[in-house]
């Protein structure tokens, strides 16, 4: 850093009488304190690296132990009894993806709407306040969202779930077994609570602020020249948003949503609180019962034998692989998009 900052031989043309500099070495010698500083900083970096690699490799090592024993049936078995070597990930993987899917379907319009409101519609005076509110929503502990969903939301949403089942039962996703349609009397809400749908809605509120703040930053960076160009051509505000702001922030919208998806896949405690675990592939999202990898780990670790813990590590490895790839794709999309690029307009 130091050695690069010196100007090179630019002075030769102006002061031609002076002899050209004879290749002076520009490398500076680091002082003792700098050497110590670099060593300490490098040690810190290496320590963090080793720690993180240790976690990852330990995860993989213990997981391979279980995977080796289970073989390919790990991918197809719909049960979780590691000690009788009858365990597989397909049911909980499907449950995890369903919950995350519901979460993203709910969170995407909310996050987009809130981000557009903050960056385009909100009065200038309350904008910082609203940004703070969104940041605060991201900081609210997941247990609080979980308790809200467990005690409040899922009972209020049960009527909505029943309505969807009444009218859209012909879509397999929305079917609920064991209830009579259009017959509300005598049926408790418990057919519809503790479902993947309820867990997904609660997780949606949790991931919404993450997606929202990324989108808001991208939207507010949309080039003012192009905005005013759109207005000058007679566009309405919505026309301007559709023609300038949303195309500019599209990469951030996709990337932010995928970052939220990564978080939704790994959410533990709210899902564990709401869902009642089943170990079958359960594609009916409105029906009580579901599963997710993270909540499986939280619910099952205590009663597990060492091999059972290895099996949990295998499930955890699958989850980590999923979140890692989602986050990676999100990072690539965000960095490739035009968002944040300097406009020439």
């Amino acid at each position: 850093m130091i050695s690069e900052s010196s100007p090179g031989g630019t002075s030769t043309s102006r002061f031609s009488a002076v002899a050209a500099p004879a290749g002076r070495s520009l490398r500076s010698k680091l002082s003792a304190s700098d050497l110590v500083f670099r060593a300490v900083a490098r040690a810190g970096g290496v320590f963090v690296l080793v720690l993180m690699l240790l976690v990852g490799s330990f995860l993989a090592f213990r997981a391979l132990n279980a995977l080796h024993k289970a073989g390919w049936s790990f991918l197809t078995t719909q049960a979780w009894n590691p000690d009788s070597n009858d365990f597989g990930i397909v049911a909980i993987l499907v449950g995890t993806i369903l919950i995350a899917f519901v979460a993203i379907i709910v969170a995407l319009p909310l996050a987009t709407g809130a981000a557009l409101y903050i960056s385009e519609y909100a009065p200038r005076q309350i904008k910082p306040l609203l940004i703070g509110v969104i940041d605060l929503m991201a900081a609210v502990p997941s247990i609080v969202y979980g308790m809200w969903g467990w005690g409040f939301l899922q009972w209020k949403m049960a009527s909505l779930a029943r309505w969807i089942n009444d009218w859209f039962f012909w879509i397999p996703l929305f079917k609920v077994d064991g209830v009579t349609r259009h017959y509300s009397a005598g049926q408790t809400a418990t057919f519809y609570t503790s479902s993947s749908f309820m867990a997904g809605v609660v997780v949606a509120l949790m991931v919404m602020p993450i997606a929202c703040s990324i989108m808001r930053q991208a939207f507010s960076q949309a080039p003012p020249g192009e905005r005013e160009g759109a207005y000058a051509l007679g566009s309405t505000r919505w026309g301007m948003i559709r023609a300038v702001v949303i195309p500019f922030g599209l990469g951030a919208m996709i990337g932010g949503t995928m970052l939220g998806l990564g978080r939704a896949l790994g959410e533990t405690i709210a899902v564990a609180l709401i869902i009642s675990p089943v170990f079958l592939v359960q594609p009916h999202i409105l029906q009580s019962g579901g599963s997710s990898i993270a909540s499986l780990i939280a619910l099952r670790y205590a009663e597990s034998t060492p091999f059972g813990v290895s099996a949990l590590f295998a499930a955890g490895l699958a989850l980590f692989g999923l979140t890692l790839s989602v986050n990676f794709v999100a990072a690539v999309i965000v960095s490739r998009s035009r968002s944040g690029a300097v406009s020439d307009a």
Binding site: G44, G113, I143, M147, W148, W238, A294, F320, V326
Partner: protein
């Protein structure tokens, strides 16, 4: 617009010279968002019509019920009626603009409503626990599962949370900051590798950090359920976050400042200590505080590593240690109403803690790098004047008056 003046009077004009705007005339900024009476009337009318129609539907016509259904139906009707009202005297792009505006405003309001609902519900359920002093001062060692709300409290969980988060941040904050300084100051292949791995580990689900500590420190090394194990699990959860945020903050320090420092001949260590870190101080403090808020709210790593107890335990080395999120999680699963209320009270205490930390972070981190408070500026000015006086004293020629200023 002023009338263009034709050059050749009478004959067909070949060219025109626009008259100049009057010199000295103050240009008025055009109001782009004028609200007219008919806009307000359309909004209010559509709202009233929608509410009334839905009310009739709900009470007289159809056997509908439920507050959510009422809200959804009346909102849809509102948008429809509003669109029709606007379309009476506007063209189609304007109608679309109005509908979009209504939808975006509603979504923003919905998000705000959801936050208020979450916080409000938690406080509503936990309020009857919060108002009792014993909730804050006692632990649960003598209060059994059937004890009323006036007996027993969560002081052991508050202390446990503070100890565990203290351990976690004691590990994660210095390590994360050091690694961030390393990535910023010693760029190269190794730094890129560290950055990649840290970015990847931010994707680690928090429960896996707990499972890692559970399998290594607790099962293999025999630490047992303890505060130190929970602290380590939280540290692993938070470390990538602190590291990554600090890295971003350090990259925002103005390059001119560090280059000025190098140009004045100071080495890298002194530049980092006296220029880079002080410049990024508020951002780094925000990174650490937000990491702390995250660590306080994490339940799953603690669930797997800390164990649960009703006793006050201030020794992180031995024995299980309760924390607020864990207490809340375990309490709401119990059948007793008083226990559930206590759980919601614990969630309220957690929320208060997080909000306080968040406000501190906003106050400290509200300013960008290099922007100083009034007090910091006074201190800088004072230090600068002192330096000047010192230089003057040292380099003053003989006979020069010593006390100049």
């Amino acid at each position: 617009m002023p009338e263009p003046v034709t050059r050749a009077g009478g004959a067909a004009p070949r060219t025109t010279v626009p008259s100049r705007p009057q010199a000295g005339g103050v240009q008025q900024r055009r109001a782009l968002s004028g609200i007219r009476t008919q806009d307000v009337l359309a909004l209010v009318g559509a709202l009233a019509a929608a509410l009334c129609t839905t009310g009739v539907l709900w009470t007289q016509v159809a056997p509908f019920s439920g507050i959510i259904g009422f809200a959804v139906v009346s909102w849809c009707l509102f948008v429809l009626i509003y669109a029709v009202l606007v379309s009476f005297d506007e063209n189609r792009p304007t109608v679309r603009d109005r509908i979009a505006s209504v939808v975006v405003h509603s979504l923003g309001a919905l998000v705000l409503l959801a936050l208020i609902d979450v916080v409000g519900y938690t406080f509503l359920r936990g309020w009857s626990a919060l108002v009792h002093l014993n909730f804050w001062t006692q632990d649960l060692s003598t209060a059994g599962p059937l004890a009323p709300i006036t007996q027993g409290g969560v002081s052991h969980a508050i202390v446990g949370t503070l100890i565990e988060v203290g351990i976690a941040m004691g590990i994660a904050a210095p390590l994360g900051l050091l690694a961030a300084v390393f990535m910023h100051e010693v760029p190269g292949r190794l730094a890129r590798l560290v950055r990649t791995v840290v970015d990847a580990m931010t994707a680690l689900p928090d429960v896996l950090a707990g499972l890692f500590i559970y399998a290594t420190l607790i099962l293999t090394f025999g630490w047992g359920f303890s505060g130190r194990a929970a602290g380590c699990a939280l540290a692993i959860t938070v470390l990538p976050i602190v590291c990554r945020t600090s890295d971003v903050v350090l990259r925002l320090t103005p390059g001119g400042l560090t280059e000025a420092s190098y140009a004045l001949g100071s080495g890298q260590w002194r530049t980092v200590l006296f220029v880079t870190l002080p410049t990024a101080r508020s951002g780094l403090a925000t990174a650490v505080i937000l990491g702390t808020a995250r660590a306080i709210g994490e339940t799953s790593p603690v669930l797997l590593t800390a164990g649960a107890t009703g006793n006050m335990n201030t020794d992180p080395l031995h024995g299980p240690m309760m924390s607020l999120p864990l207490l809340a999680y375990l309490s709401v699963l119990q059948p007793e109403q008083a226990v559930v209320t206590r759980g919601f009270g614990a969630a309220c205490a957690l929320l208060i803690l997080v909000v306080v930390l968040f406000l501190i972070a906003r106050i400290i981190g509200g300013r960008g790098a290099g922007q100083l408070t009034a007090r910091q500026q006074r201190r800088r000015a004072y230090g600068s004047a002192r330096d000047l006086a010192r230089f003057t004293r040292q380099h003053a020629p003989a006979g020069y008056p010593k006390e100049e200023s």
